[in-house]
């Protein structure tokens, strides 16, 4: 009942002309970002952040969230038409989507991915609506030790689920914790690692860091890279899937939606891993698994539904616990803290307009995307024809303006530039930026909760082992760190022997 009252209150916020405009700009930019290879949602959110922060928190969150789930819709277009995923979560869609397009079935492929995304997005929002308040009321029982352990668990899970070496991901998390210490100490107000540089006194801002690590570095990686964009010349027709298409896709969409939402709630799982799992699941359930990769509509419907449900599921731990599930949620969490709002169990009680406004806007945004997506496909095809050599100077200029306009200070531009170069080097040395960003955002909170816990316990670390929840979270963290070690057993044996 509380959820129904909340969602009605949310619609009162989401249906104002201002919120509708922000939601529209968000989902439209998201679709564009999804369509364009070479710029992902994390880069685009960080790029838009400085401009959006001028608006009120509810409007800016509505727009940035719209950008995130909008990118999931847009990503399928390039996967199907060009065989290049617009963003990482649409890699799987290339397998069967492009094959369908080659067989002259681009229309149904695009259509089912739009409808699948819509259904999954809506299922995800219903889940968010009921699960987040439940989790938030449970989290009200948390004290400093539980929060500390939960944050440790979140970070270790992110490193465990990282694409490359977990050891290197843990190193990046530790680096993020160190970078999070820069600025005035919260207790003693003593400057730490500031070296009399004024711009460092308030700490390293999350926005220039993520703009550098995700936006600039992505552009640098793509400078001069030849992007083979052979767009299908066949006319796209019949966007509405046939009855048989619906029959084949109904269950994959349902499975993708549920799987995506629950995987999205887990810290660390972005949409990429989830879409691969969904594809594998569909292959397993199919009567013709050997035909996957040759243009099966189930291979498009399941993963496309899944990536949208993950995007919505990711909001649950961020809004109810204040724990970002991935780098994009870390950026959104950073945006909320800039407004002085602390995401967590009290968010729903203290700022119901923001929480319920966001949830309601997701319903509205999903409808907008369904209406927008199909008629605008010819426009996105034209956008794809813009050469990257012309596009990236504009992207860079937006980043430079964005970082300057944060505080009208060149210092932020320099920080963004430094992190852009660092991000580029990190990708070349196969070091992941996501654990660094997550640790940078969580670091100050982690330190604060650790200090509080130690003061409460009189300096004893046993406080983390006396409380059942805290010890559970720490055990999960320990497993996340130790599991890969078992895979390294042969290597350790060789070192020892």
């Amino acid at each position: 009942m509380e959820a129904i009252a909340g969602i009605l209150q949310g619609f009162a916020v989401a249906l104002t002309p201002k919120s509708l405009a922000f939601c529209f700009v968000g989902v439209l930019s998201g679709t564009l970002v999804g369509v364009l290879p070479g710029i992902g949602p994390a880069a685009a959110i960080s790029l838009l952040l400085p401009s959006v922060l001028r608006a009120d928190p509810a409007s800016s969150l509505i727009m940035l969230a719209g950008l995130y789930y909008g990118a999931m819709y847009g990503g399928s277009t390039t996967s199907i038409l060009v065989n290049i995923p617009g963003e990482a979560a649409s890699v799987v869609t290339c397998f069967d989507g492009y094959q369908m397009a080659r067989q002259g079935r681009a229309g149904p492929a695009l259509g089912i991915s739009a409808f699948g995304s819509f259904i999954a997005g809506t299922v995800g929002v219903v889940g968010l609506m009921f699960l987040a308040p439940l989790l938030a009321s449970f989290a009200l029982l948390f004290g400093a030790p539980e929060y500390f352990s939960l944050m440790v668990m979140s970070m270790t899970l992110v490193t465990y689920l990282s694409h490359g070496s977990q050891l290197k991901a843990l190193m990046m998390a530790a680096l993020g914790l160190i970078l999070g210490c820069i600025g005035l100490d919260a207790v003693t107000a003593k400057p730490r690692f500031t070296y009399d540089i004024l711009v460092l006194r308030d700490g390293i801002g999350i926005v220039p860091v993520v703009m550098g690590l995700f936006g600039i570095s992505e552009v640098l990686l793509n400078v001069g890279a030849t992007m083979d964009r052979e767009i299908l010349k066949n006319k796209i027709k019949g966007l509405l899937p046939s009855r048989q298409d619906w029959r084949d896709s109904a269950m994959p969409i349902a499975r993708g939606s549920l799987l995506g939402f629950f995987l999205g709630v887990l810290p660390g799982l972005g949409p990429v891993v989830a879409t691969f799992l969904s594809y594998g699941l569909e292959k397993r359930f199919s009567k013709h698994p050997e035909k996957f990769g040759t243009g099966m509509i189930e291979g498009v419907a399941g993963p496309e539904a899944c990536n949208n449900a993950v995007a919505t599921g990711n909001f649950v731990p961020m809004l109810s616990l204040g724990i970002p599930a991935n780098a994009i949620m870390a950026i959104l969490l950073g945006a909320l803290t800039i407004y002085g709002i602390q995401p967590g169990p009290l968010l729903i009680k203290e700022h119901p307009n923001i929480f319920w406004g966001l949830v309601a806007s997701m319903y509205v945004g999903n409808v907008m995307l369904l209406i927008l997506n199909l008629p605008l496909i010819p426009l996105w095809v034209q956008v794809l024809k813009v050469p990257y050599g012309i596009l990236y100077p504009i992207i860079l200029l937006f980043c430079l303006i964005g970082s300057y306009s944060l505080n009208n200070n060149v210092g932020d531009v320099i920080i963004m530039w430094i992190f852009g170069v660092v991000g580029f080097l990190m990708k070349k040395f196969q070091l992941e930026p996501a654990p660094l960003v997550l640790a940078l955002v969580l670091g100050p909170m982690l330190e604060d909760n650790l200090r509080q816990s130690l003061i409460i316990s009189g300096g004893s670390f046993f406080i983390f082992f006396n409380r059942p929840l805290a010890v559970t979270f720490l055990l999960v963290s320990l497993c996340a760190v130790l599991f890969p070690l078992f895979r390294l057993r042969p290597l350790l044996a060789r070192i020892a022997g």
């Binding site: 400078v223 303006i401 200090r451």
Partner: protein, 147 residues
């Protein structure tokens, strides 16, 4: 593991030792009342241990070839253009700096014709000025030309 991991590990090991030392100078405090250096000290200690593990693993695992470094000249030019933008922005003002920045990237890095580069740079910088300064009120610097 890639070839460069040994050097990456060494870099982070030295970095962590430096942060440990700086944190110790800040004051570690006690477990009961942690000082400002407490958290960065243990974070850098963790980084140091992980970096050392990375170095050790590279001596005993099969190392793969890392990423290719093709097109480094252009990447360097783009980096320099951005740094130039940051350094010139306050003095030269937004419009002129943005014009020079886009012109440089299109003409020098992308090797487009000069007429196209100048025309596109003019249009992009004016459009950005209109969007950010006039519409979004971003207060971009006017520089010497605006005074």
């Amino acid at each position: 593991m890639i070839n460069a991991d040994r050097w990456t590990g060494l870099f982070f090991l030295v970095f962590s030792l430096y942060v440990c030392f700086e944190s110790w100078r800040l004051g570690l405090g006690s477990y009961f009342r942690p000082g400002p250096g407490f958290f960065p000290f243990y974070s850098s200690l963790l980084l140091g241990i992980l970096a050392l593990s990375l170095i050790l693993f590279t001596f005993h695992g099969n190392l793969e070839k890392g990423e290719s470094w093709a097109n480094l000249g252009n990447i360097l030019l783009v980096c320099l253009a951005m740094l130039g933008f940051a350094l010139l922005l306050d003095w030269l003002g937004f419009l002129s700096t943005a014009f020079l920045f886009i012109c440089f990237l299109l003409y020098v890095v992308e090797r487009r014709g000069w007429l196209f580069s100048v025309g596109a740079a003019f249009l992009i910088s004016v459009a950005c000025y209109a969007a950010f300064e006039l519409w979004l009120k971003a207060h971009l610097p006017a520089g010497i030309l605006g005074r």
